[in-house]
């Protein structure tokens, strides 16, 4: 509930600033004007918002589905670590925005290129968190497994993986914010719909009010997504100190 209160505080500060400074609407619209505009254009915003949300979610799922197994492979198989990890690091060094036009050439103008852009931006923190989590196992725990004559696969399943879960969850949280960025970038470059597309259109006509409405919607959606991931985290790693201290 504190998050609602801090949201209201931000709105109040904004309202006071507009009332005192009286800037022109194309520089800083009033919060009530933005609210009214959100209501009148709600059908449009909803339609484009749904398309953006589906890209964000699909991209996030793509990044999880690629990032976690790839991290597991990199830790479990030394050859993969040596061969593939440098490629992944180099890929991450490329600004993904620069790849967006290429993805359009490869995948056309549909949903696919935008999901791929989103996924490619979001997957790296998940990968790194998975690798770090799996590697940072207590060596004494491994010795315990050795004296119990554990199978490698069992050690992985019962010791390494659960112990890495808090780290992986933190990676997914970071990826959530990146996925929102990825979704919007994808729509800037390669789309005829979505909130990113709407933003570009609105900037052409100096329609600052709708731009504010879009930005606020994005902030709310990203926050809700973050809380949703936190709930899943709480459910999956409730045994971890980070969850118990709440």
């Amino acid at each position: 509930m504190w998050s609602v209160a801090s949201g209201l505080l931000a709105l109040a500060l904004w309202g006071v600033a507009v009332a005192v400074l009286k800037p022109p609407a194309y520089i800083l619209p009033a919060p009530w004007a933005v609210l009214a505009r959100t209501w009148t254009d709600h059908a449009l915003l909803l339609q484009h918002g749904a398309s953006t949300l589906s890209e964000i979610l699909a991209g996030l799922i793509l990044s999880i589905v690629v990032g976690i197994p790839l991290g597991i492979l990199i830790v479990a198989i030394p050859v993969v670590h040596r061969l593939v990890y440098p490629i992944v690091i180099a890929f991450n060094a490329i600004p993904k925005v620069a790849l967006a036009p290429l993805f359009v050439v490869w995948f056309g103008y549909g949903l696919l290129p935008r999901v791929v852009i989103t996924g490619s931006i979001a997957f790296f923190p998940i990968l790194v968190a998975t690798i770090t989590g799996l590697m940072s196992i207590d060596p004494e725990l491994l010795r315990l497994a050795t004296v119990m004559r554990a199978r490698q696969s069992r050690t992985f399943l019962h010791l390494r993986l659960p112990q890495a879960m808090p780290s992986i969850a933190a990676g997914v949280k970071i990826a959530t914010s990146l996925a929102v960025i990825g979704g919007i970038i994808g729509e800037f470059v390669a789309s005829d719909r979505g909130l990113g597309y709407l933003l570009v259109q609105a900037s052409g006509t100096l329609d600052t009010t709708i731009m504010f409405a879009i930005v606020i919607i994005l902030a709310v959606v990203a926050s809700l997504l973050f809380y949703a991931i936190s709930l899943v985290e709480n459910y999956l790693v409730f045994w971890h100190a980070s969850q118990r201290s709440k």
Binding site: T146, V147, M148, R149, R151, L159, W239
Partner: protein, 271 residues
Amino acid sequence: MSAPGASEPMLAESSSAFIDLRRASKTYAARTGEVVAVDEVTLSIRQGETIALLGPSGCGKSTVLMMVAGLIQPTTGSLWIANQKVSGPDPRLGVVFQKDLLLDWKNVLANVLLPFELRGEDPAPRRSAALALLERVGLGGFADKRPYELSGGMRQRVAICRAWIQNPDILLLDEPFAALDAFTREQMQLDVARLSLDRPRTTILVTHEISEAVFMADRVAIMTSRPSQIREIVTIDLPRPRNMKTRESPAFGAYIVRIHAAFADLGVLHG
């Protein structure tokens, strides 16, 4: 072997030895040069016997235990269990480390059953044995709890159950009670003694507490640092089963005085 003060030479005994260290040394290659952690330790342990490795911090007690556990290889010399040269963890082993190493993502029962889970064996048939074991160490109602919901002494008991559930012939205990308060420690010493009643297990107990060594062991190996060696082995001729009365006997006190004096002679204690 009657009065306190009986000691024996460190020579290898006959083939009756179950665990046999033959001039086993371990040298660690540290960044600052080589560290001789254990220097030519020769020690024969009979089947069913409990031997305590007693010595100051850093004298190589854990290193000896890790060698017996098959976790590290001796740099020179050799190590035998039942006339077989040790090259890896023996299936008859149960080990309790200084840290309890419980898994917070499993409940107490699943932690006790971990050895089977890790070997890919079905733990279900062992459930009732695990529950009975927990009952015996006073953790009857805690099977569904998580380790972080237990006290330090309770956690260490779970770790002991986890070693015991495999019905080990050989028990290796690396200062398992060191982190506990005096009352809990004494209780756990009684618990372990009681668990062994059905059939004596060959046990190596690492400790730096003289009374713990005397209470638990048939023989106490006095270790010193620089060079890390076994200096003397004191036979503890106290009746078994040992219980709370044991500590009150004059012989018990005499052994403690005797071993304390040995450490003073070795220069471990001074002042």
